[in-house]
Subunit: 209 residues, 3 copies
């Protein structure tokens, strides 16, 4: 049981790091397209990567915050910000565009399901777990758009986004309810969100207005 | 005493639900006017309804958050969001306009005084109680406007709004100080805010610029 | 040791008040330039002055919040808001412009280093202490700009700002590491931020884009 708990912690930790890098990358690309300076690039990447998880931790009253406990996370983004500007200058526009969509879909899946899992561990009711997952997944991007002075993409009539996170969280939560192994539930939930999002972009799926 | 405390809890709970429905309705109408999809409608309604109370709970360090403890609140808004779009399509513009003002004034009164009451229960100093009331009442709308990429209406030179909430909170706090029955203090505070707001809209009252 | 701790508390408290007045003043001037009414002037000043520190306290889970514990802080800003409008009407534009820059640079130095010091007291890792300092220093202004519906100045390619706070925090943290007296470390850190900021404005220093 203790081993299991440790194993799950390591797994959640790894998922967290992967999600951070994916989201921070989408933040770098966005900030560069707005021609921000190094501080702007760092901050937008930081807020995109940690905004959703920080809001979740504030709502669940989890302390220390995950990026306070692991100062290597913000340092990683700080170093990435310093090298992002010259690197991004040499990427072609279309590549950057596709890279955003892919990294962002991966981050969305990883963060949402991770958030639902943490809320479930904290014994929240199921609907709240699903909402915490969606908040973890989308609020980094919402804050990024608010700070960049735009209506958050996710609330406009664009391709399915929050809905993909919502669906993935329910897949995770239901598998969890059926006592499937945690790692399997996490994988299926993340894959559901990721695939739904990629399909929504590919086939231009939208919700009715 | 225990009974009294229970009775007060039930009363505050009822006020909370009424306020949520009022504010969520104003959120639905606003989101529909911006032609958002279902996710946008749900989120704007959710943030309008729970934003102020959530900020208050974060500031007062109250956990679990009221909408986490009662998952029926977000579920209620989720279901309302699904039926809001067809329903709103059949309302005439003028009706919607008036409905926003009325529901919003009621929500403002209910939430502000409820917030002041919770802060008072937490033994905050009086001026802070009044501020917590105003924050509870107005910040849902502020966040809605920030997310919709507008300068919050409440800070522009429009008809009295935050001032009505401020006045209602002081009425509640002073009656409370005089040991008037809690329910009476709550009613008078709420009525003060509601009536001041309706009068301000009707007679175009503004603060000096 | 107890005396030392008390002395440090008094000192941090004094710095806090000076920073609040400096930031609130910049908030008044900004809100007046947008021709907001009294409620707007108060709220923008309040958020500019307390936004950064409140976010820091939420992130560090410090309660009660500093402006809840000391209701004289918000009352001070409330009274200042009432007299700010007539006073500001008689200031000439150029004076107001210079006053914003000066007060803001002072507030930036005082708040950032104070934030780093509080995070250090809470035994956060050093990079996180520096970040908490920068957050305390700049987020009041970020929230002010978000609410005024502008891209935060600090993230655009303008004169060095967050970078000055970052440098001052590291000066403080390194002196602290060398066991220099707390008051000396605070003074040097604050002075570093203040001077760097004034020089950046004077000589138009920017980060590379």
């Amino acid at each position: 049981m203790a081993l299991n708990h440790l194993g799950m912690n390591v797994m959640l930790h790894t998922i967290e790091v992967a999600g951070i890098i994916a989201f921070a990358s989408s933040g770098f690309i966005e900030a560069r397209r707005k021609r921000m300076d190094v501080v702007g690039v760092f901050t937008v990447a930081f807020i995109t990567a940690f905004g959703g998880g920080t809001l979740r931790d504030l709502l669940l009253d989890r302390r220390p915050l995950f990026w306070v406990e692991h100062q290597e996370y913000p340092i990683l983004i700080f170093v990435m910000a310093l090298i992002a500007i010259p690197v991004l200058r040499h990427l072609r526009h279309a590549v950057a565009e596709n890279a955003i969509v892919f990294a962002d879909a991966l981050g969305l899946g990883l963060f949402s399901v991770n958030g639902a899992s943490l809320a479930s561990e904290a014994e929240m009711p199921m609907f709240v777990c699903a909402m915490m997952g969606v908040i973890t997944g989308i609020f980094g991007g919402v804050l990024r758009d608010v700070i960049c002075n735009e209506i958050p993409l996710v609330f406009r009539r664009s391709n399915l986004y929050a809905t993909c996170a919502f669906a993935g969280c329910w897949v995770y939560l239901l598998l969890n309810q059926l006592h499937v192994m945690e790692i399997v539930a996490l994988l299926f939930g993340t894959a559901t969100t990721f695939l739904l999002r990629m399909l929504a972009v590919r086939f231009d799926w939208k919700l009715p207005a």
